[in-house]
Amino acid sequence: MSEEKPLIELMIAYQKGDLSAFESLYRLIRPRLRSFLLGLTLNSALADDLLQETFLQIHRSRATYQPGRNVLPWAFGVARYVFLMDRRGRVRRREDPALEPECIDIPVPHELDGVFDRDLFNKTLPLLHADQREVLLLHHVWGFSFREIGQILGIRPVTAKLRAHRGIRSLRREFERLAVTDPYPGAKFKEK
């Protein structure tokens, strides 16, 4: 990703103790982390809580970032860790790990606006299996390669590819069920 260079520089400055670099980093990655957490939780209030916790965790774990490596996979990895910890905590406290899904609005990048019907996409997204939804969003919305997704989730790239493929297939089924034309005509899955 071409935008990674400034992120890397900001992250290195932040590791050296520069809080203004943290502020810039926050503004740059916050929207993406929020929509990632929204895609995982399907609940905006919880996503906002976890977003705050993610940035606190990013601060506590800033030493684990390896200078020079891409920042986004690392930051998404931290966000996922926070999400998993929250879910495990809920299970331990015998609370329902999945809150009532609400109508979410995942921001779709401009380049995909023509491909996705945003409203329908956001309506059908919660119907997907969580694993498929996660990979589908990471690859098709945030543009991670399957290799990076594998490293964020701890799965093989081929498994990530398979989940994305199944996710798209499930989306197609849901679209058909809603009597909508296929929004992915001839969609191909290529490793980035």
């Binding site: 943290f22 502020e23 926050y26 601060h59 684990t64 930051a75 931290v78 594998g150 498994t159």
Partner: protein, 216 residues
């Protein structure tokens, strides 16, 4: 909204906003295993002495097998330390395959050693030897396990139990690699019931450690 959230975070982190001591890469941090193993090997050789059938086994099956086993343990440690760095997790498949391959290698070495120098425990001493080898391998393995657990604790394990199992296996393999430099009994029943069992116990200890991280 965004500014309010940011100022809230900043107010919480300002107090501890000094420069961070960046973690070295997993393969560099994993090198911690080597001085640990040196300590174990030194203890075994100086306190208990070199196995008496070393000449029969030769350098390859004697020291060579131990060295290879430690190299494999180092690989597992690297994997475990990678698994606690966000965004660089090894896949579950790769980690499981590595654990399986390491176990297979250990069993192969046990088999070859038995072929090269078949040694059985003396009548009536089998159980005593099993307990000695089991206890020694486990006790020796706890040194690298604790050291490695301290290293791993600085990260964020997505699968803490898997990270613990990898560390437990690595600690078990390295302590067994040191102990086999002393223990001359190569019969498979002895090796499986003591040396291999000690590695399994270390794996369970790693799993328990991982479960504790999960709850923390």
């Amino acid at each position: 909204m965004e500014d309010k959230a940011l100022s809230e975070i900043l107010s919480r982190i300002r107090a501890e906003a000094g420069p961070a001591q960046v973690l070295l890469s997993p393969w560099k941090r994993g090198l911690t295993l080597l001085p640990c193993w040196g300590l174990l090997l030194g203890t075994v050789l100086f306190v208990f002495g070199l196995r008496m059938d070393y000449q029969e086994l030769g350098n390859l099956a004697g020291g060579g097998f131990s060295t290879i086993q430690v190299a494999v343990a180092y690989g597992l440690v690297t994997l475990a330390l990678r698994s606690v760095i966000p965004g660089s997790n090894p896949s579950l498949f790769f980690a499981s395959a590595s654990l399986g391959a390491a176990a297979l290698l250990h069993l192969t070495f046990a088999l070859i050693s038995n072929v090269l120098s078949p040694q059985r425990a003396a009548e009536g001493e089998a159980l005593h030897l099993v307990l000695v080898c089991l206890g020694s391998t486990f006790l020796l393995g706890s040194v690298p396990l604790i050291a490695l657990a301290v290293l791993a604790k600085r990260g964020l394990p997505i699968r803490p139990r898997l990270s613990g199992i990898l560390l437990g296996m690595a600690a078990g393999l390295s302590s067994e690699a040191a102990w086999r430099m002393h223990c001359p009994v190569t019969s498979l029943d002895h090796v499986l019931n003591s040396h291999t069992l000690a590695i399994l116990v270390m794996i369970v200890a790693g799993f328990v450690l991982g479960s504790a991280w999960r709850k923390a």
